[in-house]
């Protein structure tokens, strides 16, 4: 390219044959373009695509920690699907994801509507709301663990004093239903800010005129929400819900810290079960097979996201 070589001369290096040719080659748009993405692409190929292939290979072999096993076909999958604990995990994952997402969506929209009002201390309030999302989840979950302690639970202490529970109150992390409720509550607590702040950004971008027009047409506040806010919020909500679906479904931190999947596997999710089988148990083949069950959900979300983005 003429421009490139001129720059080269201007830089005072002179057109010394070969170097100038290399430079000219490098200055071409497509060469430069490939050159810049190459490092990132190499990294992703070696540490994302290749491990993904390994995960598939592991899942088809009887690979244990320290002993590369033989190819066993679908034996791991067959064994997993017949396993009671795994079936329980599938059920837990769907219950956990569905309930947590519903709460996050409804409360998130409600919170965003509240924050969108003309408030004093707007920045401070947003800062406070976003905090659970910023603090390391494993550490804040330790705080929840203490709040759900079997003996010193502050939740029970308060509820008992207020007469909302009969003594001694539930053992939150020791009873199946309560443990699931606790895990969901912490997930909602940690995921709510993401919903609220993103939906808030969507709300702010809705032109005021739409509301004024709706008001002229005699719409009340529910009517305005139903016919103006909700339809215009749909794109933002779709993206947020899709994102949250993957990361709620594949959650590890909260369950690992709070219950380790217990009591009696009632809160195990795919990731925590894969950790227990693959690392604690050392059965990498089965562990990989379990974690690969996250893949269909990932594929579905990616498919919807891509279709959605293409439509934009």
């Amino acid at each position: 390219m003429a421009v490139g070589s001129r720059a080269f001369e201007a830089a005072g290096l002179g057109p010394t044959g070969r170097l100038a040719r290399v430079h000219e080659w490098w200055e071409q748009e497509h060469v430069f373009g490939y050159g810049l993405i190459l490092p990132a692409l190499l990294l992703l190929a070696c540490l994302v695509a290749y491990p993904f292939g390994m995960a598939i290979y592991f899942s088809l072999s009887d690979y244990w920690v320290g002993s590369p096993g033989a190819f066993v076909g679908l034996a791991n999958y067959r064994e997993i699907l017949g396993n009671e604990v795994f079936r329980q995990t599938v059920q837990n994952s769907f219950v956990f994801t569905a309930i947590a997402l519903t709460f996050k969506t409804v409360l998130g929209v409600w919170l965003a509507l509240l924050l969108a009002r003309n408030l004093r201390f707007k920045r401070l309030l947003r800062g406070a709301v976003l905090l659970p999302w910023v603090i390391p989840t494993a550490l804040s979950t330790l705080g929840w663990w203490w709040m759900f302690d079997s003996l010193y639970s502050v939740v029970n202490w308060t509820a008992l004093r207020l007469g909302l529970m009969s003594p001694p109150g539930p053992n939150w992390l020791g009873q199946a239903g309560y443990a699931m409720a606790a895990v969901i509550a912490v997930n909602v607590w940690r995921g709510l800010p993401f919903f609220a702040i993103t939906v808030l950004a969507g709300l702010v971008s809705i032109p005021r005129e739409y509301y004024e027009a709706a008001e002229v047409d005699g719409a009340g506040s529910w009517g305005r929400f139903r016919h103006v806010t909700l339809p215009l919020l749909k794109p933002v909500l779709a993206v947020v819900i899709l994102f949250s679906t993957i990361f709620t479904f594949s959650d590890f931190n909260i369950v690992y810290v709070l219950t380790r999947g217990g009591p009696v596997n009632s809160t195990h999710l795919f990731a925590t079960l894969a950790y227990q089988v693959g690392l604690n148990g050392g059965n990498l083949g089965q562990g990989a097979a379990i974690s690969l069950f996250l893949f269909p959900m990932l594929a579905a979300v990616v498919f919807m996201q891509l279709r959605y983005i293409r439509k934009e």
Binding site: L44, L131, W189, F194
Partner: protein, 285 residues
């Protein structure tokens, strides 16, 4: 001029708004308050079922914090976390700036496919890959060292930062770049001297998120490192402060509070970047 009636309506509406926010703010902040109170309370009060758990009655103590510094590897964990976060974020930023600029601005065959590939890897949850990666780390001979994390963290940082930066690079006017090229600057010079300075807010944002995501990361740090002195702050506190007896809550909460401090400092100073980063792309959440 607003009439008294409409002023009253507005006042009621504002009161309604604040009153409804109170439970949300309480829900968001109470766990942190409670962790802080717990970390400053004496064991005698902490484990007294008759005491009110919400505040400190028998005097504020710092024993739990002193325990962290004197009897555990807490400072080593913090140092590890700091090194890992800064180095991994730095490496990822360089890769992401190059890739993001290329994908956002240059025209060549396959650019769309590469963009899609980056987006897909961005959605891959770490919990899908931690088992094979734990073996990769062993083969590379870096398991049980902080290098295991410095090498693997870019796998989620690069896609995320690339995606975020692409948006910022697109906002730089194309004409400015073209002028620079016509004036004889090389493409690399154009990127470094013209485009990069205009994308500084995006880079700051990517750096803050990178630091926060690596500092907070849990499953890789838990899986790839088991030696106490190579642990990160989050994993060290979560796994090494729980002692056999049950009276560890004070020091555990002290550890959780202190290990959150670096992230909170970034957050307090750069709140607006966090909000804009969250809304710019869809961030993991």
């Amino acid at each position: 001029m607003a009439s008294a009636a409409s002023r009253g309506a507005r006042w009621r509406s504002a009161a309604f708004g604040y009153a409804n926010l109170v439970p949300f703010i309480f829900f968001a902040l109470f766990p942190f308050y409670f962790m802080l109170v717990t970390s400053l309370k004496s064991n005698a009060e902490l484990y007294n079922l008759k005491a009110v758990p919400f505040w400190i009655q028998t005097g504020l103590i710092t024993d739990h914090y002193r325990y962290l510094f004197e009897r555990t590897d807490f400072l080593t964990w913090m140092r590890n976390s700091l090194i890992i976060s800064v180095v991994a974020t730095g490496i990822s930023l360089v890769l992401a700036i190059l890739a993001g600029y290329s994908l956002a601005r240059l025209r060549f065959r396959g650019v769309g496919a590469f963009g899609t590939a980056v987006f897909i890897t961005y959605l891959v949850p770490p919990t899908l890959l931690f088992l094979p990666l734990s073996q990769v780390v062993v083969w590379l001979g870096i398991s049980d060292t902080i290098w295991a994390l410095i090498v693997t963290y870019p796998t989620f940082l690069v896609p995320f930062s690339t995606w975020l930066l692409m948006g910022y690079f697109r906002t730089v006017p194309r004409e400015i770049e073209e002028c620079a090229l016509v004036d004889g600057a090389s493409r690399m010079q154009t990127l470094l001297r013209i485009v990069l300075p205009m994308a500084v807010p995006g880079i700051v944002c990517a750096a803050l998120f990178g630091f926060t995501l690596t500092w907070n990361e849990f499953i890789y740090a838990l899986t790839f490192v088991s030696q106490t002195t190579a642990k990160t702050a989050v994993v060290g506190v979560t796994s090494d402060l729980i002692r056999g007896d049950i009276y560890y809550w004070g020091s555990l909460m002290a550890g959780a509070v202190l290990a959150s401090v670096p992230v909170v400092i970034c957050y307090v100073f750069f709140l607006d970047y966090y909000v804009s980063g969250l809304t710019a792309g869809a961030v993991k959440g």
